[in-house]
């Protein structure tokens, strides 16, 4: 199948970027990234500069890959990362526009590669349970209902790819931040630090320059792990709970 690609090229963070057109001969069994591999090999052979993009595990779990494909982060398939998107989702002759994640808090490093270290800094602001190695009691000493454990897992499934930010009309990182807050808020282990955690993580999120949530739901629609907006509701609840607390 013949694919016409229009790809964002930008030399580095401060350079002016622009779209460039390419043609690729793809096979329906290729993954979207393998199509880029083919493009890059042909560019290298022609002595042209290949397209830089983030990727690593290529099995949908590391969260590195990040392309906005025809206006959708990770492309048209529900619950699928770019690396797991296959060319059979497209038609011969299709024109595909590929852009990087765009947000002030995700500055472009090169071409389609963006700097998502803001996500790490949000996690560092309390996205953890304070427990030293060796300190805990027996794992079964804290019973946790299956429903709570399962729901906590739903939020813990976040891979930190940033598609939520990329899809949000406000470039908000609420779903990302809320996933961690919600995960830990549902577990008894997370309770002692719940107030500080939500306050600090929200402050960090705002401070990185992400937008605010206005409940569009685009984040959940784009999330490759299909994390629901209930996470955001839970963050809001935690935030108010912390707000009315005297401590």
């Amino acid at each position: 199948m013949k694919i016409k690609l229009t790809v964002w090229r930008q030399r580095n963070r401060n350079a002016q970027g622009a779209f460039k057109d390419y043609e690729v001969e793809a096979s329906p069994d290729m993954s979207f990234l393998e199509m880029f591999d083919v493009l890059n090999e042909s560019l290298i052979s022609k002595g042209e500069e290949p397209v830089a993009f983030d990727h690593d595990c290529r099995e949908g779990i590391c969260g590195a890959c990040s392309m906005v494909i025809n206006g959708s982060p990770h492309g048209p398939r529900q619950g699928t990362t770019t690396c797991q998107l296959h060319m059979r989702s497209f038609q011969d002759g299709d024109h595909i526009v590929v852009e990087p994640w765009r947000a002030r808090a995700f500055p472009i490093i090169k071409d389609l590669v963006v700097d998502r270290s803001s996500f790490d800094r949000i996690q560092q602001a309390g996205g953890y349970i304070t427990v030293n190695t060796g300190a805990p009691q027996d794992a079964n000493a804290i019973p946790i209902g299956k429903a709570e454990a399962d729901e906590a897992f739903d939020y813990a499934a976040c891979i930190g790819c940033g598609a939520c930010v990329a899809a949000c009309p406000n470039a908000s990182a609420m779903l990302f931040t809320a996933s961690k807050v919600a995960h830990l808020s549902l577990l008894p282990q997370g309770a002692p630090e719940r107030r500080d955690r939500v306050r600090r993580m929200v402050t960090a999120m705002d401070g990185e320059g992400f937008g605010g949530c206005t409940n569009h739901g685009e984040c959940s629609a784009a999330c490759p792990k299909e994390i629901g907006q209930d996470a955001i509701t839970l963050l809001n609840r935690e935030f108010m709970r912390a707000g009315v607390s005297a401590k």
């Binding site: 052979s45 595990c57 779990i61 296959h86 790490d120 996690q123 560092q124 427990v131 499934a157």
Partner: protein, 637 residues
């Protein structure tokens, strides 16, 4: 090369306790004076960095990914073993130890394995306390499953994403220490050399992958937790970035590389679909609990699978291994699939796959049950292949998945270079010639949370030789070498993309040092690899500039190392004239085609020592003794 495993004396169940008491401690107030350099942020690296920082050490942690959370530990699916015996089904520390030594085909060090089994129980406690959402029963207790043919249910799991959840746990512990200012994280930073001062590992040379800047780091000890080298095969289940570079640079500085030929081939992966294939995807081993493996009896049979009648199907695992059937260990299942394909009975357009059929299970338990158990795996399979396992059998083929070999370490997880510690998949210590399912996560976390925090202190208290600074001449030398190599790669000006060489190397390794090896093939590989290397250094194309983000330069550096490393693997496979675990030498098999081990002559860890650029590596041996687990032939008949 001096190989002293430093195994403590005394009965095996007392060794670790005794050793913990005998090791020297670092005064709490002095810990902050030590700077530890940790390379890698997967389960082993992140857990080590976090725990050492909790103890008070100053830690610098490096990873090539954009975030420590993306280390490839994240992709582990199945679970993590622990001898908790929560299911009351007869498990114990001793049984886990026994199973692991036996499963490793008696090529692991007993004392290390016993310690691993001991601390396995603490890992689960630690992870739960961090908020890892393991699967639970309705009553709120943790649940377990039997995994990879184990006869007890000792595997803890978090849906099909156990690795991810454990890594996020370790990542959160790491974040806490970054927040506390005790760990400085250096993402998108690749280690390109280790610096030795007076024979001790005291520093690193790194390249900032965004700016291209080469930097020096001085520390008081170095920890490598850099994962396995499966990508030497080009196609593997490893992440694209996984590489051998850190371990290999240490090897070139004198660290012994042990058992490099022990690679694990996982039997249930999605088969290759074309030349453009960049990576193989694993399907959880749990599929074999309900799926039946078969091929058409007649090699010429070109019918669609559903049209082939029962009588013309060969359920070869059930036929050859009546008692374990489809649940034989990984190495056995993988080799059996290869045998069928080699003999022409493989299916699919390439002939390189076998069927894994769920029709019987769906008929027995109903589609809903099967969907409940494997729904997300079936979905993933369909996403990749476009075929639905509900309607037609899956096609699977073995793929390189894990490497048991790695840098040689003693009981303290220190290599033969003082101060250079190696954790997780990067070392060779615990899995012998074959790793059991759900044991990799266990080992990575055991090393990082519960072993290195003790043994590193002992090194600092007894072997440490005072502060060094980055202006030491050894740093000058190492940095110059690194810069020269980068410049050399940039200056070749060839026309052939790196991946072309990598694919070719992978093919050589897969053909001659893969699931089955023989003398002739290995000798051929030893001839082909240097030729390929020669072509690489003359014709590789590295576009762009070295002082910017340049994924092709990164790749070229890694492939250059694989091109040397592949040879060591072949040397090792050639030396080991027996079949054991993941290493199957065709010359050494029983009449029925099973692996034939030679305990008389090969019960040793083969430790390879660098001898200079064009010389063959030198073999050193660590003899293994088995006092507790009787050497028997593994049989799954």
């Amino acid at each position: 090369m001096e190989l002293d495993a430093k195994i403590p004396s005394g009965p095996i169940e007392k060794k670790w306790d005794k050793h913990r008491f005998e090791m020297k401690l670092v005064n709490p107030a002095n810990k902050r004076k030590f700077r530890i350099l940790v390379v890698g942020s997967g389960l082993a690296g992140a857990s080590a960095a976090a725990t050492l920082a909790e103890l008070g050490y100053e830690v610098d942690c490096f990873c090539f990914q954009d975030s420590p959370r993306r280390a490839h530990s994240i992709a582990a699916q199945g679970g993590i073993n622990a001898a908790k015996n929560y299911q009351n089904d007869g498990d114990s520390v001793y049984r886990l130890f026994y199973d692991t030594v036996k499963g490793g085909d008696y090529r692991a060090r007993e004392a290390n394995v016993y310690r691993l089994s001991q601390v396995s129980v603490d890992i689960i406690d630690q992870c739960v306390a961090q908020g890892v959402p393991f699967a639970r029963e309705y009553g709120g207790m943790l649940t377990n499953r039997s995994f990879g043919g184990a006869q007890v249910s000792r595997t803890f799991y978090a849906r099909g994403q156990t690795g991810q959840q454990l890594l996020l746990g370790a990542y959160s512990a790491l974040n806490r220490m970054i927040d506390a200012g005790k760990v400085t994280m250096h993402p998108r930073t690749e280690m390109l050399d280790v610096v030795l001062v007076d024979g001790h590992a005291r520093g690193l040379i790194t390249r900032n992958l965004i700016t291209g800047e080469i930097s020096r780091w001085a520390g008081d000890a170095v920890i490598l937790a850099t994962g396995g080298y499966g990508n030497v095969f080009y196609l593997s289940t490893n992440a694209k970035g996984s590489n051998v570079t850190s371990a290999f640079r240490a090897y070139k500085k004198g660290a012994g590389f042990a058992n490099p030929c022990f690679t694990q081939i996982h039997p249930t992966c999605i088969p290759v679909s074309g030349d453009y294939q960049s990576k193989l995807t694993l399907m959880s081993e749990s599929l074999r609990n309900d799926g039946r493996v078969w091929v058409p009896s007649n090699p010429e049979d070109a019918r669609a699978p559903n049209e082939i009648p029962e009588s013309e199907r060969d359920y070869y695992l059930e036929r050859r291994y009546p008692s374990f059937g489809n649940l034989v260990p990984r190495d056995v299942a993988a080799r059996a699939a290869k045998k069928e394909c080699d003999e022409g009975r493989g299916v699919g357009s390439t002939g390189l796959s076998v069927y894994l059929d769920f029709a019987a299970a769906i008929e027995r338990d109903g589609r809903d049950q099967i969907e409940d158990r494997y729904g997300n795996l079936f979905e993933m399979y369909e996403r990749i292949t476009g075929e639905s396992p509900y309607r037609q059998p899956m096609r699977i083929y073995p793929a390189v998945h894990y490497t048991m070999g790695g840098l040689w370490v003693d009981y303290n997880l220190m290599s033969n270079i003082p101060g250079l510690h190696v954790l997780g998949e990067a070392n060779f210590s615990d899995h012998g010639a074959n790793r059991l399912g759900a044991s990799a996560l266990m080992q990575g976390l055991a090393d990082g949370y519960f072993v290195i925090p003790y043994t590193l202190g002992h090194y600092l208290a007894t072997g440490w030789q005072g502060k060094v600074a980055t202006d030491h001449p050894e740093f000058d030398k190492a940095e110059e070498e690194v810069k020269a190599k980068v410049e050399k790669l940039m200056g070749i000006g060839g026309r052939t993309p790196v991946d072309v060489f990598h694919r070719e190397l992978g093919q050589i390794m897969w053909d001659h040092c893969g699931m089955a090896r023989n003398r002739e093939g290995l000798q051929k590989a030893l001839q082909l690899i240097p030729e390929l290397r020669e072509r690489f250094w003359n014709d590789v194309a590295v576009p762009g500039d070295s002082m910017e983000l340049n994924p092709w330069l990164e790749k070229a550096g890694r492939v250059a190392d694989f091109l040397e490393f592949g040879e060591i693997m072949c040397h090792d496979a050639l030396d080991r004239e027996e079949s054991c675990g993941g290493h199957f030498r065709e010359e050494y098999q029983t009449d029925e085609g099973e692996a034939l081990r030679d305990d008389e002559n090969y019960a040793y860890g083969a430790v390879w020592e660098y001898q200079g650029p064009d010389a063959a590596p030198k073999l050193n041996k660590e003899e293994l003794s088995f006092e507790y687990v009787k050497l028997t032939t593994r049989s799954y008949k």
